[in-house]
Symmetry: C2
């Protein structure tokens, strides 16, 4: 029977740590501040933003959301970001995605000062990550790595398979796993022989958005399964991994819900603290 | 019997293309210029720099080498780079590696304006590469991809194994192979089961510097073998792949010498042209 990797428990632990970090900064009259840019009124984004706001409040991070109309012009949005870059009261900036179609997401992300890049999506920070600088990391990637840390899952020399190649999860995660000396394979929608790969994998991280893509017959005994997928089917939230079926065969597994998801907002808060510390202590 | 991937032939073809590019730029009074920074007098670097200088001259790229004493202070070197960043006559800057121990290689590479980054080692450019912008690419990575192009080697859905995880070859190459829809595995010195991986690979690119690491019994019939390794043993230059033994079993293979090596300087010249075009036409 697999160890269930408890996202809620680890998230609470991480939030406590962040709260301590913030307290220590406050003692030095430093007040970590996150500025979120929201464009339009996407209902899913609203829910996520409320979760962020609540956790920020709980851990003592100052959070302000700037809401812009869905038809805002790109130049205006970039101008706003530049003002936030120059604002010494703001330590971290994030743009809530997805953005409306008419906006160039890449240009907008690149407008953020890399030093204030809460999401870690700026190409400079992603390049740094590949070069071994691990202080600015996308929140989901930090969450996945936190599970390995917290549950003492050794990665050295292990075969790690990442399914999904986004710049938000799959690709930056590959750099972190390599850094930990895993042998890393990145699979995706064009991969022809997924089951051959999963059967050889000591560790599988899936982020494709395909409910129960990874089945019990595809994994090897004792595999570690980290499920980033969130698939809503008939009102139920399902992961990319067939959790119930894999539970007896895996050595460790994240449930969905209750696995990676809950950790992600706490990871974002941890990033805000790290950015604030870097800005103040230059570390 | 494998197709021998002829680096000299492809290099000559690429050099001709670059010469044409330069000619067209010259007609518009644009003179692509590469500035090489050399610190100290490393004999291996001297040889390589002479090859660069000769090819630059042949294709019409203006090249100037600035030589500094081995004990130059970091601040002075960075100051020089900043002057070159601001110099409109200079389109491309490269720092010949390795640098003397007392210099912080990362800081020096980051001092180069990413727009003039001939080697493509700046973290911003490496991050862009992972995000699918393929105009600024390390020369060896461009060389490897040029073989696939020139010999019509299809990558989609193929199992590609990269042995070696440097920021110069292995890691950025992984991003290019993913972009071409290969399933990519990155192996390295901590990988435990290399032969298991090589036996499954349709394409192997090796860059580890271990003579004849990849043997005939480790590859599958019809594998494509790209050998970036350069190992000098008893006066002989050997690749990472046991060329003679693998030749009958592979479907395509690069010799060493005469494979990836000769193509690399031509790839650098191509990069100088691309940087010049980007600076002038903003593409």
């Amino acid at each position: 029977m697999a160890t269930i990797l408890d996202g809620k428990k680890i998230a609470a632990k991480l939030a406590d740590k962040v709260k301590e970090n913030v307290k220590r900064l406050n003692e030095k009259k430093i007040y970590p501040t996150l500025c979120v840019i929201e464009v339009g009124n996407d209902p899913a984004s609203k829910i996520y933003l409320r979760v962020k706001k609540n956790l920020a409040k709980k851990v003592g991070i100052k959070e302000k959301t700037l809401n812009f109309p869905a038809d805002i012009e790109q130049a205006e949005l970039i101008n706003t970001i530049k003002q936030l870059n120059d604002d010494e009261q703001v330590n971290a900036i994030m743009v809530q995605l997805p953005l409306p179609e008419h906006l160039d997401q890449e240009k907008i992300i690149e407008a953020i000062d890399p030093k204030k890049d809460a999401d870690g999506f700026h190409p400079y920070n992603q390049g740094r990550l590949w070069q071994g600088k691990t202080d600015i990391v996308p929140a989901t990637v930090r969450s996945v790595m936190t599970f390995f840390d917290e549950y003492n899952i050794d990665l050295e020399g292990k075969n790690a398979l990442i399914i999904g190649r986004s710049i938000i999860v799959g690709k930056p995660l590959a750099s972190r796993l390599l850094e930990k000396n895993a042998t890393v394979t990145i699979a995706h929608s064009k991969t022809r022989n997924l089951a051959d790969l999963t059967k050889k994998a000591d560790i599988i991280v899936s982020d494709v958005g395909h409910a129960h893509l990874v089945t019990e017959s595809m994994i090897k005994l004792g595999a570690v399964l980290i499920d980033v997928g969130m698939n809503r089917e008939q009102g139920k939230l399902l992961g990319d991994v067939d959790y119930e079926a894999c539970l007896p065969k895996a050595s460790a597994i994240t449930p969905v819900p209750g696995g990676v998801g809950p950790l992600t907002v706490a990871s974002l808060m941890r990033q805000v603290v790290i950015l604030t510390e870097k800005q103040n202590y230059g570390r």
